[in-house]
């Protein structure tokens, strides 16, 4: 690291020009990320911004940081983001509700945050220059050495923080064991040999329902025939509507029973049979 005196702003090297250009691209991508009305486009522009940042790290010889940036942010965080977007809603085209109403406040906060960060960085590294020509200052070895010699405490603190987050996630995702969830009614294969659950909307459930659940004398709960019953059955099987106790000819249909309902206010199929 040299002093600023040996460097000037007027004769930039190729690396510096590239740094500036990539920085502009990154900034542009970041601006598009927060302004585009298309949600998934925003996520993809975020990829560009984060990738641009990785290139900046590379140009500053911090190779390790650059690849970790790509690995963590592009490879995992953005994928997680896209996953979440696709899982909830990710319409193709504009999402009108993506615009926030208080954009000016947001802009103010953003500018303030950026100003604070820039001020901190400028104040910290005011006249420090990286010698790009010499040994790489940000190589994996150098990064590792400084991380585990000078910055061990923050590193460990961070790992404890992450551990806490992990434990929290596990606690949140665990179901309460005291409240067992009853199995869903229609689930197949629950209780292998049990009878099928009688389903009132199903008119042909077979003998299992016929022999037990509906008494044959007509005093049982009256069930209406389905409106989409074939009209032919209404004509043929129910010639004597209103007499009550006559079992209809189609024995496997216990639901079609004319017990208490006169022909008047019935479904069309029944009506037809009754008026004959």
């Amino acid at each position: 690291m040299n002093l600023a005196a040996t460097h000037g702003f007027l004769s930039p090297t190729g690396v510096e020009i590239a740094f500036l250009l990539v920085g502009l691209v990154t900034l542009g991508a970041a601006v598009v990320t927060v302004t585009t009305p298309q949600l998934v486009h925003a996520a993809l522009w975020l990829v560009v911004a984060l990738g641009g940042l990785a290139v900046e790290y590379l140009l500053l010889t911090a190779e390790f940081i650059a690849w970790v940036q790509v690995l963590i942010y592009v490879g995992s965080v953005v994928v997680l983001l896209l996953f979440g977007l696709m899982l909830t809603r990710a319409p193709i085209g504009r999402s009108p509700d993506a615009d926030s109403g208080n954009r000016w406040a947001a802009l103010a906060v953003a500018v303030a945050a950026a100003a604070a960060l820039v001020w901190v960085v400028v104040d910290a590294f005011r006249t420090t220059w990286i010698d790009l020509a010499g040994a790489a200052a940000g190589s994996t070895e150098a990064t590792g050495a400084s991380l585990f010699q000078n910055w061990v405490l923050p590193f460990e603190a961070l790992s404890v923080l992450l551990l806490a987050a992990l434990v929290g996630a596990i606690v949140l995702s665990r179901k309460a064991t005291t409240d067992p969830v009853p199995p869903p009614l229609n689930s197949r294969g629950v209780g292998g040999g049990s009878r099928p659950v009688p389903d009132p909307s199903n008119e042909c459930t077979g003998p299992a329902e016929q022999d037990g659940t509906v008494p044959d004398d007509g005093s049982g709960p009256t069930r209406e025939p389905r409106s989409d019953a074939p009209p032919g059955r209404g004509k043929g099987a129910l010639p004597d509507d209103g007499t009550g106790s006559t079992p209809d000819l189609n024995g496997s249909v216990p639901g079609v029973r004319s017990g208490t309902a006169p022909g008047g206010g019935e479904k069309p199929a029944r009506q037809e049979g009754g008026t004959r």
């Binding site: 993809l44 990829v47 190779e63 790509v70 490879g75 994928v79 990710a90």
Partner: protein, 322 residues
């Protein structure tokens, strides 16, 4: 000038390898899969045992109309195949095939991280394709791709870290320089986990739930035709080459061999890679597709603990022997 020529030559070689090796793997898959199923596979294209089948396929793909669905997001849809394919090209660049500087496209200091990071980017292509196709099957495929990537990236990283710990470096040639034969039994669990996780990340059978053709047509690639579809396929096979090469370099000792390590190192690398590619095909033919929940369970309850155990073992041995 000489430097420029050298760089150009290396790039050219890498590019040629990138274009031919996936085709070799693809053709091998055609034939091996056929014979494992009691068939012959392609027999006509090119005359001798259908060696030019994939060339013919390529010609067919090039002739097809390039269709973008009306409801699709045009830009993203068209960009996705490139995003899926290019990362693998970059990875091929850094895989060392032999000892010394001459046998690698470009030495990268943090090679392991570079490789894993760039391979993760490749999956982004599938996500883009899945979302931009405006097709529910594509979206389902994209979702499954993302879920699978999230599940399998972790064990892959952890096992790669285990090797890096053993070698004391994250540079791929550095790892190979430090390799000893007894690393093989030492890191065998890590090798298996890495390979399986890599397979899952490539969405190869039996981990091909994201493209499960019998239920979601072809996942994220459902709407693609012609050259763009061919690029996706090429990406899959390039991914196989990269994964096998990487497993060879990280766990199987790359150019190290029982003999002839000096002149014939690259032969060892290619041989090991080819054997691993055969295993990839073999697994595809043998096993049925894992269900989505089985996929997740395999990763989180088996591979992640195994890789953590491998790291612990590596650490203990490393401390003991140093």
């Amino acid at each position: 000038m000489n430097d420029a020529l050298d760089v150009a030559l290396r790039l050219l070689i890498v590019f040629v390898v990138f274009l031919t090796f996936p085709l070799l793997v693809g053709q091998t898959e055609h034939k091996v899969m056929a014979h494992m199923q009691g068939r012959l596979g392609p027999m006509y294209a090119g005359g001798f045992h259908g060696w030019a089948q994939l060339v013919a396929d390529g010609v067919k793909f090039a002739q097809k109309e390039d269709i973008v669905p009306a409801g699709a997001d045009r830009r993203v849809f068209q960009l996705a195949p490139a995003v899926a394919l290019l990362p693998y090209l970059l990875v091929v660049l850094v895989i060392p095939v032999g000892p010394g500087e001459g046998a690698v496209g470009q030495v990268v200091d943090a090679g392991v991280f570079f490789v894993l990071a760039v391979m993760g980017v490749g999956v982004l292509g599938s996500l883009m394709a899945g979302w931009a196709s405006a097709n529910k099957f594509s979206l389902l495929g994209g979702l499954r791709t993302a879920a699978q990537l999230l599940a399998y990236e972790l064990p892959m990283l952890l096992t790669a870290a285990s090797v890096a710990m053993a070698a004391g470096t994250v540079s791929l040639p550095g790892i190979l320089d430090a390799f000893e034969w007894w690393w093989l039994p030492w890191q065998i669990v890590g090798a298996v986990v890495f390979f399986v996780a890599g397979l899952a990340e490539l969405q190869r059978p039996p981990f091909d739930m994201p493209v499960a053709d019998s239920e979601i047509i072809f996942g994220a690639y459902t709407e693609y035709t012609g050259l763009r579809f061919a690029l996706f396929l090429l990406a899959e096979y390039a991914g196989i080459v990269v994964l096998c090469g990487l497993t060879t370099v990280l766990f199987l000792g790359g150019w190290h061999g029982p003999f002839g390590a000096d002149g014939l190192g690259w032969v060892w690398t290619l041989l090991k890679t080819a054997v691993l590619a055969f295993v990839v095909i073999w697994l595809r033919v043998t096993y049925p597709r894992l269900r989505e929940d089985q996929l997740q369970k395999l990763s989180w309850t088996l591979l992640v603990p195994l890789s953590l155990a491998q790291i612990a073992l590596t650490g203990i041995v490393k401390v003991v022997i140093s």
